[in-house]
Structure formats: structure tokens, C-alpha cells
């Protein structure tokens, strides 16, 4: 069930693409609402996406060929645009994950220094 509380933590700029790619890789084909719901669930509602802000990222990823969108029916027989990760998307996911780990590792090291 969607919660109506205000955002507790905003998405770090530049991480939304990675979040979407990873979610699609794990869950397979999904529509935008399911992606948002999944992210909120995983973060135990600590992170709340403004669902509208998913769209620029989805458009960008689709234009880059990292995801592919198609209209389908949901289980409740409503129409929705479902996105699936592509080959190029999987490659990008590996690369972006590596970069993110490198970056966060570096920050971790910096922040714990002399603490």
C-alpha cells in the first residue's frame, strides 16, 4: 500500500538510473509504479521517491537503449507501460555498480579516517 508521508530522505543525484536498472534486473519487467513501490519497500520507507521524478530517468534510460518500454496489461487488467532491462542496460549496470562501489568505498575511507 502506498504511504502518504512526506519524503524522509531524497534520492542522491545520479543514483536513480542505477536504482532503476538494478530493480528491473532483479524483478524483471515492471511498470513505473511497481518500481517506485519496490524501492520504497526495500528502503523500508526510509527513502521515498516522488513518483513523478522517475519519469525523466525512465525516458533517459529508454533513449539510451538501456531499457525498453512496451504497453501491456497488469494482473488487474489495466494498461501500463512495462519496462525491461536490455543487454546494453545490463552492461551499464555492471559498469555503474563498479563505479558506485569505488566511489562509496572511497568516501567511507575518507569519513572514517581519524574518527
Amino acid at each position: 500500500m502506498p504511504s502518504e508521508e512526506s519524503a524522509k530522505m531524497a534520492v542522491l543525484p545520479g543514483t536513480l538510473d542505477l536504482i532503476i536498472l538494478r530493480t528491473l534486473k532483479t524483478m524483471g519487467r515492471q511498470h513505473a509504479y511497481a518500481i517506485a513501490a519496490r524501492v520504497e519497500q526495500i528502503s523500508k520507507d526510509l527513502l521515498q521517491l516522488n513518483q513523478g521524478t522517475l519519469y525523466p530517468a525512465l525516458v533517459r534510460l529508454e533513449q539510451q537503449g538501456r531499457i525498453a518500454g512496451a504497453w501491456r496489461r497488469t494482473e488487474s487488467n489495466r494498461e501500463a507501460k512495462f519496462y525491461a532491462i536490455t543487454k546494453a542496460g545490463e552492461k551499464a549496470l555492471v559498469e555503474e555498480t563498479r563505479r558506485w562501489r569505488q566511489m562509496s568505498g572511497l568516501l567511507d575511507k575518507l569519513l572514517s579516517e581519524g574518527a
Binding site: G52, A57, R60, Q64
Partner: protein, 133 residues
């Protein structure tokens, strides 16, 4: 590069892209509302709650447009079309403006061409050779 081409292409099928976007956002709102209805909320309230959860619909459309195409080119094209329509609406004014511009440019070109030939271009002989009649 691929993305650049897609954004250029979207300049020319704006109506289609707008429809697709509206359709997707509508379906998104319907899915959220459906979840609310499942908890026993009346449909009208659920639709409102869905909008609240979704966040600003219009802002999200603007973000969508920004990502999808080059908004500044799209707006420039709109301005050009607007100007063209206005010119067609006042053909008398348009005619006078076009004739005035044409005359102005034409006269300028002619006078400069004469001045150029008479005063600016050196004669095609070395300067030291005297020209005798």
C-alpha cells in the same frame, strides 16, 4: 549519440510524445488509486490520494519534456510558427516590411558594389608602372 538522435526526433512528433506521456501518467495514477481502493477507500478519494502520492503531475510532465527533447528548440520552433501566423494575418504589413527590407538591402549592395569597384579594388597592375593614356 543515440539519445541525441531520439531527442531530435521527438521535436517532430511532439503530439505523439505528449499523448504517450499522458497515457503513461494516467495509467500510473490509476494503479495507485487501485491500491487505495483495495483498502476500502471510495474511488473519488482514492483518485485524490493517488495524486498526492504521485507528487506534482504538471511538474512531472515538465521534467518528462525536459528529458525527452530539447525544450529550448521546441520553444524556438513555436515562436517561429507564431511569428509566421501573425505575418499571414496582416498581409499588408508583411508586404510593406518585405519590400522595405528588399529595397534597403538591394540599394546597399548596389552602392557598395560601385564603391568597391571604383575606390577599394586596386588596379590589376603594379603600383609603380605609370598608366599612360
Amino acid at each position: 549519440m543515440r539519445r541525441f538522435c531520439a531527442r531530435i526526433a521527438n521535436l517532430f512528433r511532439r503530439a505523439h510524445a505528449e499523448r504517450q506521456m499522458a497515457r503513461e501518467i494516467d495509467s500510473h495514477l490509476a494503479l495507485i488509486a487501485e491500491d487505495f481502493e483495495r483498502t476500502g477507500m471510495p474511488p473519488q478519494e482514492a483518485a485524490l490520494a493517488a495524486r498526492r502520492v504521485y507528487g506534482g503531475v504538471e511538474q512531472s510532465k515538465e521534467l518528462h519534456r525536459d528529458a525527452r527533447t530539447f525544450v529550448w528548440i521546441e520553444q524556438a520552433l513555436k515562436d517561429v510558427r507564431y511569428a509566421w501566423r501573425n505575418l499571414l494575418r496582416a498581409p499588408g504589413f508583411t508586404l510593406v516590411a518585405v519590400v522595405a527590407l528588399a529595397l534597403g538591402l538591394g540599394v546597399n549592395f548596389t552602392i557598395f558594389a560601385i564603391y568597391d569597384a571604383v575606390a577599394l579594388k586596386p588596379l590589376p597592375v603594379p603600383i609603380r608602372i605609370a598608366l599612360c593614356a
